[in-house]
Symmetry: C2
Subunit: 350 residues, 2 copies
């Protein structure tokens, strides 16, 4: 990366992925151009559709090529729920999760903010502004399971959650660092240590240890079940949540719903050590039911581009897009607009 | 059990447990007395306080004694969060979970209903009336984990989720049977089979197989993350949810919050084969902060007694208590009442 260009990998993916990514790039290009920065794009055809055509999920050469980019902008992948030609979950695991694991995206960053007029399903949502720092490279997501006597009445199926001090420490440290830069300076660990004793105690120990290095940051603990209750009764209480891969998956979809829907929820799969490019993607899926109809909201993809710019150090451009998005979102009346119209409106505000 | 008496084990437990159980028994006793049935009670001192005094969680003799009862009414257990004298989670695991596992409570039944005027945090909750059939004896709750190089920077901690065709089949069959007796006759399997492939595929296979035996019941599937979204955007869509031990834990606390709070959420830990007594408990915990102050809502405990009566076949008494609770809840104005006052009011309506 040089300060005057961004070498960007683009994976539009399936369903509404290409549509929302087109708008994110439109906005991204305009925002960086204003600072004399050009966007060099390399597009990659990957996803369920690509699998149907080629049988490829994520070939090694493609992964190697992706490693040469500054960052990855990712749309969404996944077949239509009823499409039985594609083995369930294969695209998610062999492509999306493979990217997260191979590129060591240990910080899965998911901010939640409730913008002025956007509809929360909550009657009294309060002021919601928190981030979830979800671990991205271990836990129950490692794919370490198996089955015995498969398909019989005596089948046993296992799933192993793997958690390491190394893996937990780096993400917990990231959460405390982010908290130390926020006004409320508070970290909440979410786990289920009364049941998942071994993993839970590891997380608790590491949080106590890392907390020593951040005396200005306060912290507390919630079981995942209690955390979901607070997410609907008092989401304003949260500042920075740090949690494992699976609890983070659940909590961030719930958080997105509470803050007006996954049409607005952005995420970054970040390698904080910068040993490989980070990847930015809307939290939503490929929504095959509305694909190609210009009905999808590109805001989550555009906000993911903001996280991308922040990660690459283009903070001014990031803040300008963010301001344009906030202005657009706060002006929404419920009148339907096409995907492109929303992208155009946000670009026009830059 | 004879039709004219119920041999009831009572475990009031810690915190608000004894207060709410006292009201549940008040109501239960009056309801069955009207049908000429007496309640023989055996109270057991178990829980965090008992552990502090004796070091006992659940001695074998106590477990053996509990097996001789018709059913168990359980309050809540757990120490105050800050009480470092009690190893974290020991009471939950060595007592509560030990009961569920030893007595083979494979159906963890948790109904969610929104009563007229009770405050849901949702702006437009709609008509909520569903049940969650949570697996209660396997999955990530089996306590099958470990750690290596514990306490060092090289620690590895594992948690193993164990799932068997036997364990999944019996709870899925229970869910379909319950669905077949409800107006909407619909089962939703909640899992995360795109990531937890082995366990997920086992659950999916068994659901497809059991569905063959219930042609009148429709079914669909949701990932746990998507299910939490629907729980706040469209909870009215759910009829019967069947899911594993951990997802069920998370989803039922969220469901309780959405339907007006855990003050109302009842649960049954049911051994449908009747090889051991089933156990009925409010979903809420011991709430040490308000213990002994008559501030707790006993409604969840009273509704748990309703599930107990249903399980034992005292359906008329169950319906009468339920009607009394609904009338009480619908008449609530927000004016605070003591735990005993709520119990008295419900008993008076019988
Ligand atoms: C598609 C799926 C594998 C993925 C996950 O579970 O992480 C998605 O739900 C997400 O949250 O990004
Ligand atoms: C106390 C705890 C072990 C328990 C559970 O996780 O099952 C509780 O949360 C519940 O839902 O009954």
């Amino acid at each position: 990366m040089s300060a005057s260009s961004i070498n960007l990998a683009v994976i539009p993916g399936d369903g509404i992925g290409p549509e929302v990514i087109a708008e994110a790039i439109k906005v991204l290009e305009k925002a960086v151009a204003a600072e004399g920065v050009t966007l060099e794009q390399t597009h990659y055809r990957l996803g369920a559709q690509h699998w149907l055509e080629t049988g490829e999920t994520l070939p090694d050469e493609v992964l190697a090529d992706l490693r040469t980019r500054d960052a990855i902008l990712f749309g969404a992948v996944g077949a239509a729920p009823g499409d039985t030609r594609i083995p369930s979950g294969i695209i998610e695991r062999e492509m999306l999760l493979k990217l997260r694991f191979s590129l060591d995206h240990f910080v899965n960053l998911r901010p939640s903010r409730l913008y002025g007029t956007v509809g929360s399903p909550l009657a009294n949502p309060g002021t919601i502004d928190f981030i979830v720092v979800r671990e991205g490279t271990e836990g129950p997501y490692v794919g370490n399971g198996g089955s015995l006597r498969t398909g019989t009445p005596h089948e046993i199926a296992t799933e192993v959650s793997l958690n390491t001090a190394h893996g937990v420490e780096r993400v917990v440290r990231d959460a405390f660092r982010r908290a130390s830069e926020r006004p409320r300076k508070h970290v909440t660990l979410v786990h289920k240590h009364n049941v998942l004793v071994y993993a839970g105690h590891l997380w608790k120990r590491i949080v106590e240890e890392v907390a020593q290095d951040f005396p200005e940051v306060t912290h507390d603990y919630l079981h995942i079940d209690a955390a979901t209750i607070f997410m609907v009764t008092d989401p304003a209480r949260f500042d920075v949540i740090v949690t494992d891969n699976l609890f983070g998956d659940i909590l961030t979809d719930l958080a997105a719903a509470v803050t007006g829907g996954i049409g607005l929820a952005a995420s970054g799969n970040i390698n904080m050590d910068r040993t490989a490019p980070s990847m930015f993607e809307p939290v939503h899926g490929s929504a095959p039911d509305i694909a190609g109809q210009q009905k999808a909201d590109p805001t989550a993809a555009i906000l993911s581009a903001v996280l991308l710019l922040d990660h690459l150090g283009f903070t001014a451009a990031a803040r300008r897009i963010e301001a344009a998005v906030v202005a657009d979102v706060e002006g929404r009346t419920g009148e339907p607009r096409s995907t492109a119209a929303i992208g155009d409106a946000i670009a026009a505000r830059l």
